[in-house]
């Protein structure tokens, strides 16, 4: 595309395209045929019928715009005999130079096109479209190629069609624009028609209208709200009025009701007032007079009765007193009380006393026994002085212990002494025994001398062993040396042999190479070698000599005497060794004996020490022995024993004393008791033998007396109380009598009878007064006690009537209120309904949404309308700007073609076809023209159209035998026009009429 635009910008007045050569591979009747066109602007192709003119025309079309598709009205010209379909055009144009356009059968029906440019580039459809400036087959056929049939269409050409052609030429080279306009119109009409109902926008608008009506309705409903609110307010007011009236009625009715209820009370009040008038005046009667009378007489009766009861009681007590009799003195009872408390103790002590006496006797026996054991007599006093305190006990314990230990040590010493003496004697015995074993001293001396003599002799033979060893060693060394020497010799021999063989070889070599220097050197080496051969061994010889000497020396010493000497020496040594042993033992024993002797001495000195200590201890301990009545020989342990015995004896004596004391104390108590007890027994004549029996008898008597005495006392007290009561009742009775008297006087009555009568009258009057009071109270509380009220409502009937009237009126009002309430509730609901209903709002929203949708449709329509308007505008431009120019051109060509016979062409608005004006001024429609002239008109139109294409592209014009009906003059005219045109367009004329050829030059003609 970019190259295109560059080309476009450099575009001149228009490109002239020229077909240079046709190369048909296979097309219709042609196969592998080349046709070259002349360089002239005009090319006439002449051929008889069936020569292939149409085929050629079709071929050129096909090459440029593709093979006709199968359903296309144009024939495809596929070779019937088979073979390659297609071919190539060599074209020349100013912008692209010479280009080969090759088209062969391909995948698409149009075939595959390949472009070959001068510079070697190739191209395809796109490049071809560039060259053709987008011209397509229909356009080309409409503008650039025409035939006889097309000429006949001149009758059908009208302004619009021409405009369409023109438009194609001026703008697009295709009729897409028209198709687009048609399409837009269709789509537009689908969307909206000014008076339609079905198109989308129309429908939307209608819907909007409906919605709007609904919306208005909802709005109206809202308006109704105002009315409803007013209605509600008025209803509320009505309701309030109604309620107020009802309240007034109700108050009045209540009043009437009250009055009706109060009527009986008023009646009774009148009666009461009348009754009060009837009572006599001035009744004097004390307050509560009758009650007081009743109370007083009742009390009088009561007091009288109580008085009788008291007197009876008094008599009873006096009788009981006279029946009660008591013996004995009251003082005895007090004494007995004391004895009674002591008696249980006395009884117990009597028992214990008996037990104590027995114990006392037992203790006495024990004590006597002990005393005799200790002292040998029964005197208690001796023992009392002895100290048996705890301190004394400790002292004794200590002393006795030490004394005991002393004797223990003595025993130990005795044992040690005995042992020492024994071992000393044993030692002495052993020494004597060893001395008996000793050698006589002279014998011993002899033996020692003999020993030293033998030993000297033996020293000489001591070397023999050493010699033997030396001989053996020498022998070994000799053997080794001999072995070594033998091996050395052997090695040397091997070396010699090998050297000699080398030498022999060397000689041969020397002869061969005649190198005597080498042989000489080798020879000298050999000599040196033999000079160092192994010598005889000097050392071996020396060793062998020494060995011989040693063997001789050994032989001399070997004899039996030596053996005998040796055994004698051994024997002497043994004896001497034994004697030596004994001497050593004696020595040791003697040392031993000295030690033992010392030990013995030490023991003896210990004895002395012990004696001394004993004396000191005895000095300490003997006073204790004496104190405790122990003989001096007694042992220490006995001292403690004695001490314990004496201490326990002393304890027994103390116990006995305590018993004696207790017995004595009991005796005393008993005696005191008896002193008081016995006189009483005597007085009451109690003669039982045991004290217990006497005591229980006395007790019985005493208790009885006490009981009787307390009875009498109680009776006396009662009597006194009764008498006091009697006096009190009498006084009360008298005071009541006085009060009664006073009461009667206050009412002015002489007797009780009279008094009572007066009292009854008074009570009745009071009752009536009370009732009156109550009635008046009731009336007051009902608010009817003012004098006017009291007098107004006397007529019950009138009141009842009034009440009924009021009730009816109230009922009426009730009904009215109900209906108002109902209405109000309805109104309220209506109001609430409107308040809650978002209907209007919702409708508004959905209306707005629909409006938006409709607006969108409208916009879509508007865009199409604008587009159409634009297209229309463009068409108008063509019609108004371009059409006149075209007409002008047509007139020009037509004038030439008709040799000036016709001057003007008209294309009236709305006219079905062209009109022309002859030079004489007559006007003809296209139908009215002769065949030839009509065809000339058509040709002029076509030429003019092609000319108008100048601005864009100059494609070859193809004219197919269009001039058959032309006279020679007009043909000439046409050819002159063609020549004019050929400056810009290659003109291709296909004809089968030979006479036409004469108007052209030879080189312009191709014969098929």
């Amino acid at each position: 595309m970019s190259c295109l635009s560059k080309n476009g910008s450099g575009r001149k007045k228009g490109d002239k395209m020229k077909i240079k050569e046709l190369h048909i591979y296979g097309y219709g009747k042609f196969a592998d045929k080349k046709i070259s066109f002349s360089d002239h602007g005009i090319q006439v192709i002449y051929g008889l019928n069936e020569a292939g003119k149409s085929t050629l025309m079709s071929f050129i079309h096909s090459m440029l715009f593709g093979f006709p598709v199968k359903q296309h009205p144009d024939k495809r010209f596929e070779p019937k005999a088979g073979g390659k379909y297609g071919g190539a055009l060599i074209i020349e144009c100013e912008n692209f130079g010479t280009v080969k356009v090759e088209r062969v059968k391909g995948r698409a029906a149009a075939g595959d096109v390949t472009l070959y440019f001068q510079d070697g580039r190739t191209g395809g459809d796109k490049e071809l479209a560039e060259i053709l400036k987008g011209t397509d087959r229909p356009t080309y056929q409409a503008i650039f190629s025409f035939d006889l049939f097309g000429l006949q269409k001149v009758y059908e050409l009208n302004r619009e069609k021409l405009g369409k052609y023109l438009f194609l030429t001026s703008v697009f080279g295709s009729d897409q624009l028209y198709r687009l306009e048609e399409k837009l119109q269709r789509e537009q009409e689908d969307l909206f028609k000014p008076n339609g109902r079905k198109p989308l926008l129309n429908r939307s608008l209608n819907e909007l209208m409906e919605d709007f009506a609904e919306l208005q309705h909802a709005k109206e409903q809202q308006r109704a709200y105002n009315f409803l609110i007013k209605e509600r307010d008025s209803l509320e007011k009505q309701l309030k009025d109604c309620q107020n009236e009802k309240v007034t009625l109700k108050t009045e009715r209540k009043k009437v009701e009250k009055q009706i209820a109060v009527l009986p009370l008023l009646e009774r009040r009148k009666e009461c007032l009348q009754l009060l008038k009837d009572f006599p005046d001035g009744i004097q009667f004390p307050e509560d007079g009758l009650v007081r009378l009743e109370k007083l007489s009742a009390r009088r009766d009561e007091v009288l009765e109580q008085l009788g009861r008291v007197q009876e009681k008094e008599k009873g007590i006096e009788d009981s007193l006279s029946a009660l009799k008591i013996d004995g003195r009251p003082a005895d009872e007090t004494i007995f009380e004391e004895l009674k408390s002591q008696f249980p103790l006395i009884q117990k002590q009597l028992e214990e006393q008996k037990l104590f006496i027995v114990q006392q006797q037992m203790l006495e026996g024990q004590i006597h026994e002990e005393l005799i054991y200790i002292f040998g007599h029964q005197d208690e006093n001796a023992i009392k002085k002895i100290d048996t305190s705890v301190r004394m006990k400790e002292k004794i314990k200590d002393a006795a212990k030490k004394y005991e230990q002393l004797f223990q040590r003595k025993k130990l010493l005795d044992e040690q002494y005995e042992r020492a003496q024994y071992s000393l004697e044993e030692c002495e015995r052993r020494i004597k025994e060893y001395e008996s074993f000793l050698l006589d001293p002279s014998e011993r001396e002899r033996l020692i001398e003999e020993q030293s003599a033998i030993e000297q002799e033996m020293a000489q033979t001591a070397d023999k062993h050493y010699l033997k060893e030396q001989i053996a060693q020498l022998k070994a060394k000799i053997n080794e040396r001999e072995k070594k020497n033998r091996e050395k010799l052997k090695k040397w021999k091997i070396l010699t042999v090998s050297l000699l063989s080398v030498f022999a070889f060397a000689i041969v070599l020397s002869f061969v190479y005649k190198n005597w220097l080498f042989l000489t050197a080798f020879l000298s080496f050999i000599i040196v070698f033999f000079f160092f051969r192994p010598q005889d061994d000097e050392l071996l010889k020396h060793l062998q000599i020494e060995h011989g000497q040693l063997v001789k020396k050994l032989d001399k010493q070997n004899d039996s005497r030596i053996l005998e000497r040796t055994s004698r020496l051994k024997h002497i040594k043994e004896i001497l060794w034994k004697d030596q042993q004994v001497r050593q033992k004696i020595e040791i024993e003697k040392m031993n004996y000295k030690g033992k002797e010392q030990a013995y001495e030490r023991i003896l000195s210990l004895y002395d020490e012990w004696e001394h200590e004993k004396y000191q201890l005895q000095h300490l301990i003997f006073p204790f022995y004496e104190h405790f009545h122990l003989p001096k020989e007694a042992e220490g342990s006995q001292l403690l024993e004695q001490f314990e015995r004496i201490a326990s004896c002393q304890k027994l004596i103390r116990e006995k004393r305590m018993l004696e004391e207790k017995v004595r104390l009991y005796e005393e108590n008993l005696n005191q008791f008896r002193k008081k007890f016995e006189p009483l027994c005597e007085y009451y004549n109690i003669r039982a033998d045991s004290i217990e029996k006497r005591y229980s008898e006395l007790r019985r008597i005493m208790e009885e007396n006490v009981k009787k005495r307390s009875q009498k006392e109680a009776l006396m007290k009662q009597l006194k109380e009764v008498q006091e009561e009697k006096t009190k009742f009498r006084l009360t009775f008298q005071s009541i009598e006085r009060e009664l008297e006073k009461l009667f006087q206050s009412a002015g009555a002489a007797s009780e009878e009279e008094y009572r009568k007066i009292g009854m009258l008074k009570k009745e009057r009071e009752k009536i007064e009370t009732e009156l009071n109550w009635i008046e109270g009731q009336l007051r509380t009902k608010g009817l006690l003012t004098s006017s009220d009291m007098n107004d409502y006397q007529n019950e009937r009138a009141l009842k009537e009034r009440e009924t009237f009021l009730e009816e009126k109230e009922e009426e009002l009730e009904k009215m209120e109900d209906s108002i309430r109902k209405k109000l509730a309805e109104t309220e609901i209506e109001i609430r309904k409107i308040e809650l209903s978002g209907l209007y709002s919702e409708l508004k929203y959905s209306f707005e949404m629909k409006r938006s949708a409709a607006k969108k449709l409208a916009k879509k329509w508007a865009a199409m309308a604008v587009a159409r308007e634009m297209l229309k505008h463009t068409t108008n431009y063509v019609r108004n700007e371009k059409m006149p120019k075209l007409l002008h051109k047509m007139e020009y060509f037509f004038r030439i073609a008709t040799s000036g016979e016709y001057e003007n062409i008209y294309l009236a608005e709305g006219s079905p076809s062209f009109s022309v004006k002859r030079k004489d001024g007559l006007v003809f429609t296209a139908e009215e023209l002769s065949q030839g002239t009509a065809e000339q008109l058509y040709t002029a139109i076509r030429f003019a159209l092609a000319e108008s294409m100048q601005k864009r592209i100059h494609l070859p014009l193809m004219i197919d035998d269009s001039f058959v009906n032309f006279d020679h003059l007009r043909i000439k005219n046409i050819v002159s026009i063609m020549r004019q045109l050929s400056d810009h367009h290659q003109m291709l004329l296909f004809t089968c009429h030979q006479h036409i050829l004469s108007y052209f030059q030879d080189e312009e003609i191709i014969y098929l």
Binding site: K133, F172, S841, K844, S852, A867
Partner: protein
């Protein structure tokens, strides 16, 4: 101690007004959008309660149309009652959209709501603890169109520590809105007020930073694809003597957003789909949104994407998954400004004549005649705006080229 007052300045609630430019929404999203103006407003109320402000200023256009949606009024009343419980006052003027000349249902407002007169500029004092802390001035539109400059009617009255003006109108220099009550910044400065709470312009802008601040808070919820970006209110604190501090607080529920997407690197439609999905997911992290995707750049996909039907289809596929999502990202449209990857159009095919004809096209209205003459269309739509005209002409041109060269392109 200087006394301070805090308040929220908002305007152009347009409660219960439908979003434009949307079609065929799933139920769940439709409901959410329907509620969104209310949701945003409820957030304003929550903010007021949370910040314990003294009052709220609403500078006109509470409702979308002069007949005042009943639903909006009732919801508004509920929210105002809530403010009343919190002891927060509300000062309201009505604007061109909810002028008092409309035919609407009258609702009884709670006592904390103060509505300015439509006869003359009114002064309502703001009283706290028995003291007048500020004089608030305002004027409600009696008719839709108030074309005179009413600023001269604002006059400081009485002694008050602070003076605040509530004004619904067009400041000179703000384009694209009906020029109601036109005024200049200088007009406002001359009044020597402490704060000017403006309304009417939906895009938020600060006309004067301080002494006094003059602010358009913008609307609280975008309602069509041109109202992009965060929407909210201003939280203002004024101190005696005119010292001011304010900050923007977003309250919108659904974001309108336009995202430019370069297709330079994109070679296949599938890739583009993935790309837009990624964009969507990124957007979703910031909550629900309505997206316009603007494709630009040069691409070999030109011929694929040129056909608006293709793009609509792509949007539809992308939107399929959105129904029922908690936070949705709805592709409103995919538009393109793509050029083909090569210089196809500059090729020799197009006659200069033709191009010239297309470029000098003046017959738009003629082309629209059948549509404009349609009774129903006239009833529901106005003529296309200049912008739309331009777009449509471009589209038509593209359509012609596309249709004409489609064959060529398919061939190559």
């Amino acid at each position: 101690m200087t006394r301070r007052i805090t308040f929220i300045h908002t305007a152009d609630l347009h409660l219960d007004s439908p979003f434009t430019g949307l079609e065929h929404l799933p139920e769940s999203i439709f409901k959410r959008i329907q509620e969104s103006t209310f949701t945003a407003f409820e957030r304003v109320i929550e903010l007021a309660a949370k910040e314990k402000v003294d009052f709220i200023l609403i500078a006109g256009d509470l409702y979308d149309d002069e007949d005042r949606s009943l639903k909006a009024q009732l919801r508004l009343k509920k929210q105002f009652e809530r403010l009343n419980e919190e002891g927060i006052q509300v000062f309201i003027i009505f604007g061109n959209h909810d002028h008092t000349g409309g035919n609407w249902v009258h609702i009884q407002w709670p006592e904390n709501v103060h509505i300015f007169s439509d006869r003359d500029v009114e002064c309502i004092p703001f009283v706290r603890d028995g003291k007048v802390l500020a004089n608030i001035y305002g004027y409600s539109y009696p008719t839709r169109s108030v074309t005179e400059n009413i600023v001269y009617k604002f006059q400081k009255r009485n002694e008050a520590p602070l003076h605040i003006g509530l004004l619904h109108g067009t400041a000179s220099g703000t384009e694209g809105h009906e020029p109601y009550c036109p005024f200049t910044i200088q007009n406002l400065l001359e009044k020597d007020f402490d704060y000017w709470a403006l309304g009417h312009i939906h895009k938020r802008q600060i006309l004067h930073r301080s002494d006094p601040p003059i602010i358009y808070p913008g609307n609280i919820q975008g309602r069509h694809k041109k109202e992009t970006g965060e929407k909210g209110v201003y939280l203002v604190e004024l101190a005696e003597g005119g010292k001011s501090a304010y900050r923007f607080v977003p309250v919108f529920d659904i974001l309108w957003n336009e995202i430019k997407l370069s297709v330079n690197e994109i070679a296949a439609v599938g890739e583009l789909y993935d790309h837009i999905r990624a964009v969507k997911e990124q957007q979703r992290r910031n909550g629900s949104a309505l997206l316009t995707i603007m494709l630009d750049g040069a691409s070999s996909l030109f011929w694929d994407l040129m056909d608006q039907d293709h793009l609509d289809e792509l949007a539809q596929i992308l939107n399929e998954e959105e129904e029922g999502k908690n936070e949705f990202v709805w592709i409103v449209s995919i538009q393109h400004q793509i050029v083909p990857s090569d210089d196809f159009f500059s090729s020799s095919y197009i006659s200069k004549d033709f191009e010239q004809i297309l470029d000098h096209f003046h017959q738009f209205d003629e082309a629209m005649e059948p549509l404009y003459k349609n009774r129903l269309f006239r009833r529901f739509f106005q003529s296309f705006t200049e912008n739309e005209k331009e777009e449509l002409i471009k589209e038509a041109k593209t359509m012609i080229y596309y249709e004409l060269f489609k064959q060529e392109w398919k061939r190559s």
